[in-house]
């Protein structure tokens, strides 16, 4: 039961894989893209994918005889991914020399029409000499084959160079795509007596070499010999991990791989590559090594001009100066650009042929390379010159290099650049230098005059009693301590103001209470409901309260106010003063002499008089 479930699961997975199989595709390869007349070349058209395929039965091309020779079919399972392919083989027999293009062929597969890629076959005549485009490697090393799976080659375009000359070098490393290479050590050129620049990977392509497909990685660098003599450049060495089939112990009994057209004992004919369950492949570390290349290095001729600084190659020079109208002492920026191909690390600023009457500042330089390894480009120098006297032209610049093609030194000279220099040499002045076009940066420099420099002023012999300090005031503790003075003053001011406010508030409340009391008493006096005792007591109380209010914020207690004080406060005349006196006497009489002395009620006239008296107290 368990086995049945397992089988069903595997079948389901396989079915799912079939269900999402890739659409059919077709490729076509020639076993060799170069051949001679009469030599057969194999053409394979491989159709990958499900379904039947119908290849072309006959391919007609003038100059080539192409015949179908058979069909092979492959079925692969890899990680539960099935893949089937059919390879249709043809022989191609060149009948004459020339460059032949096998046009795309139509293949019907899986209900679709597929087109093979266009193929090129270069056919030389039987006496030799290729008519094709493939470069001859006669001047280079031949690929070193490691089991026909990978190779490295060192391509040096020159066999003779000069000391210091930059020689471009190309390294090609090819891998059979099936070995799935992993580079663990990048290629390195062995050898002594030269310096090599950093290796740059410049490209990757697929090539067919001797009937085998290779993924070819190209690196570029440049070398420069440090001394004369005969050198052996290389070999180029690299290390990579590749997958190779397990070594066979038994004689070969398997079928040939479709890629092993010529029975070259292709290791990929191993069943491992068609059935990974049959055997186990190995990931192995292999060293890839090229053949060394001989290089003869010659010394430079001895008659080097004075402006030669070691530059070797082929260069041109352009110069410019800016500004062209200046005052004596003003800076002029002379820009010289050296372009070409060569060892730019030895390209130094051009020399001034005659710098008399000029002050020269150290030049700046920048390099813009035009290739990956920096052997071609433009190096630009900016030199600031300052005329010490009137001049009409910028001094001529000279740059020398050695041309390895001409095998001689070449000196480039700038054209005369006319300028206008005004004024006389000054003793001391500020001039903007180095970058005159820039408004903000300026440098104070003095022209290199021929006059005797000014002398400095005398010594000072007085010294302050206390030492001075560089420390800014705001970082000194004394400054922050001094801030305590206004701070404390602020605290005192605030405290005083708060206290004043509180005092004012208390007085206001007292006045308000007195006003309220006076109003209440006046209201009672007008109602005529009080007894004489109460009436005179309230009347005299109103007078006291009004007197206290009229005496201002002095804090006069109403209880201590008497008739004379009230009269004085309100500046009453004698009649009113007498009335007030009587009012206080009656009040005292009613208060202290008993309730039954005098009438029990107050006459309306008396009430009116009292009210009038009180209301007139203002």
């Amino acid at each position: 039961m368990r086995c049945r479930i397992l089988f069903v699961a595997i079948a389901a997975i396989a079915a799912a894989q079939f269900a999402r199989a890739d659409p059919p595709s077709v490729t076509a390869v020639l076993s060799n893209s170069e051949a001679v007349v009469g030599e057969t070349v194999e053409l394979q058209i491989k159709v990958t994918g499900p379904g039947d395929a119908r290849p072309p039965e006959e391919i007609s091309l003038d100059g080539l005889e192409i015949h179908a020779t058979g069909t092979s079919r492959q079925f692969e399972i890899h990680n539960f991914n099935t893949n089937s392919s059919v390879t249709y083989n043809y022989t191609v027999l060149p009948l004459r020399a020339g460059r032949f293009t096998i046009p795309p062929q139509i293949v019907r597969a899986g209900g679709k029409l597929l087109r093979t890629p266009e193929l090129i076959l270069n056919v030389a005549d039987s006496s030799g000499g290729s008519s094709g485009a493939r470069p001859s490697r006669g001047r280079q090393s031949q690929p070193t084959r490691a089991g026909d799976l990978l190779f490295a080659e060192l391509i040096v375009p020159k066999k003779v160079a000069y000391v210091g000359e930059i020689v471009p070098v190309q390294i090609r490393m090819g891998f059979d795509p099936r070995v799935r290479p992993r580079l663990i050590e990048p290629p390195e050129i062995a050898g002594q007596g030269f310096t090599a620049q950093k290796l740059q990977q410049s490209g990757q392509s697929s090539e067919t070499i001797n009937g085998r497909p290779y993924d070819v990685v190209t690196y570029k660098t440049a070398i420069a010999a440090a001394r004369a003599g005969k050198f052996e450049l290389g070999p180029v060495k690299a290390k990579a991990q590749v997958i190779i089939p397990r070594a066979r112990s038994a004689p070969r009994s398997r079928s040939r791989s479709p890629f092993d057209l010529f029975d070259l004992d292709d290791p990929f004919s191993d069943p491992f590559f068609s059935n990974p369950f049959a055997q186990v492949g190995e990931r192995r570390e292999v060293e890839i090594k090229s053949e060394p290349v001989a290089l003869e290095v010659k010394s430079l001729p001895t008659n080097a001009p004075p402006s030669f600084s070691g530059a070797i190659g082929n260069f041109v020079m352009t110069t410019d100066a800016n500004p062209k109208s200046v005052q004596v002492g003003d800076p002029i920026t002379v820009t010289s650009a050296i372009s070409g191909r060569g060892n730019f690390d030895r390209v130094n600023p051009p020399l001034l042929e005659d710098d008399r009457g000029w002050h020269k500042y150290p030049p700046s330089s920048k390099f813009k390379q035009d290739d990956e390894v920096g052997i071609s480009g433009t190096k630009t120098f900016e030199t600031v010159l300052s005329p010490n006297e009137k001049k009409q032209t910028v001094p001529l610049l000279a740059f020398s290099y050695f041309d390895p093609a001409k095998e001689q030194y070449v000196t480039l000279r700038s054209d005369p650049i006319a300028i206008a220099v005004q004024g006389e040499a000054a003793t001391t002045q500020n001039v903007a230098a180095s970058q005159p076009a820039s408004p903000s940066p300026a440098i104070a420099v003095a022209p290199q005059g021929t006059q005797k420099p000014q002398d400095i002023l005398y010594q000072l012999t007085d010294r302050p009693a206390t030492a001075e300090s560089f420390t800014p005031l705001y970082t000194r503790p004394v400054f922050w301590t001094a801030q305590l003075v206004p701070f404390l003053a602020l605290i005192g001011f605030a405290g005083w103001k708060i206290r004043r406010a509180r005092i004012d508030n208390r007085e206001a409340r007292r006045i308000s209470a007195l006003q309220h009391e006076a109003a209440e008493l006046m209201h009672k006096l007008r109602r005529n409901a009080a007894s004489p005792r109460e009436y005179y007591a309230e009347a005299s109380r109103v007078v006291r309260v009004k007197t206290a209010l009229a005496s201002g914020g002095g804090g006069v207690d109403p209880n201590v106010v008497d008739a004379e004080t009230a009269a004085d406060t309100f500046k009453l005349n004698s009649d009113s003063r007498d009335q007030l006196r009587r009012l206080f006497e009656q009040s005292d009489e009613w208060q202290y002499s008993g309730a039954h002395n005098g009438p029990a009620t107050i006459s309306p006239e008396n009430r009116r008089e009292v009210l009038e008296l009180i209301e007139n107290l203002k």
Binding site: Y361, S364, S438, P441, A442, I456, Q459, L460, P472, F479
Partner: protein
């Protein structure tokens, strides 16, 4: 007991300070004498001993600058003139000799920005005092406005003006301190100094700095200093080849 110890220490200091000052005066006079006799190296030693002892004054730095000038060390001469001017902005002798030394050395200067040029009519300390005074006036105005019922227009105006003055003086202080003559100003004292793109002697050169050139130190990494250079450039220079103006 403690009070007695403090009193003794105070008395000791009070008695010792005049003695130290008198000693410094003697050393200063001796260094001046050496200079007058043409013994510039001995004069330099004397001035530098004073400076090491903390007896800093514009005149000591000025005289030291003169001594270095006489020995042909324009970088250190310019450094000490700059120090004299940092202590005393209006030091006409230092200003004049600084210009002569710069001309001799072809020293490069960092050009101040237009704002910095305008702000340089007062010193950092003057701006600091202005800011402090304006601040306290503004605070007292504010307190008066809070504690009095009557909002006087004059008082409000004064408050606003003082706040503006405070802000302006603070900004001026900040601007001058980080400007071309600020706290980061340093002078190249080495000869054949090249500012480079990286912290290596083999790195590409950015600018050749004659002795006495001004740089503004931005950061330091090991033996190298990253500095703002004249002409709005930046580069690395060996730390030993530049000294800060402010000690």
């Amino acid at each position: 007991m403690k009070i007695r110890a403090s009193l003794i220490a105070f008395l000791f200091c009070a008695l010792a300070i005049p003695s130290v000052l008198a000693q410094a005066d003697v050393e200063f006079a001796k260094a001046n004498e050496e200079f007058a006799q043409g013994h510039f190296k001995e004069a330099i030693s004397g001035y530098e001993a004073l400076i090491r002892a903390g007896q800093w004054s514009a005149n000591v730095f000025y005289d030291l600058g003169n001594a270095y000038f006489r020995t042909g060390d324009f970088g250190r001469a310019i450094l000490n003139y700059e120090r004299a001017l940092a202590l005393q902005r209006h030091h006409p002798e230092a200003t004049a000799n600084l210009q002569i030394a710069r001309d001799e050395a072809h020293a490069l200067e960092i050009q101040p920005s237009w704002l910095e040029r305008y702000l340089q009519f007062a010193s950092v300390n003057q701006y600091t005092i202005t800011a402090a005074v304006a601040f306290w006036i503004a605070v007292f105005c504010l307190a008066a406005l809070i504690f009095t019922r009557r909002r006087s227009a004059a008082r409000v105006t004064l408050l606003l003006v003082m706040l503006l003055v405070f802000a302006g003086a603070t900004f001026a202080t900040w601007q001058l301190e980080r400007g071309s003559k600020g706290m980061a100003l340093a002078i190249v004292i080495g000869k054949d100094v090249q500012a480079r793109l990286a912290t290596a002697d083999t790195a590409n050169s950015v600018l050749a700095l004659p002795p006495g050139s001004e740089v503004k130190i931005l950061s330091t990494r090991g033996d190298w200093t990253y500095a703002a250079l004249p002409n709005s450039l930046r580069g690395w220079i060996p730390a030993k080849n530049a000294e800060r103006v402010r000690l």
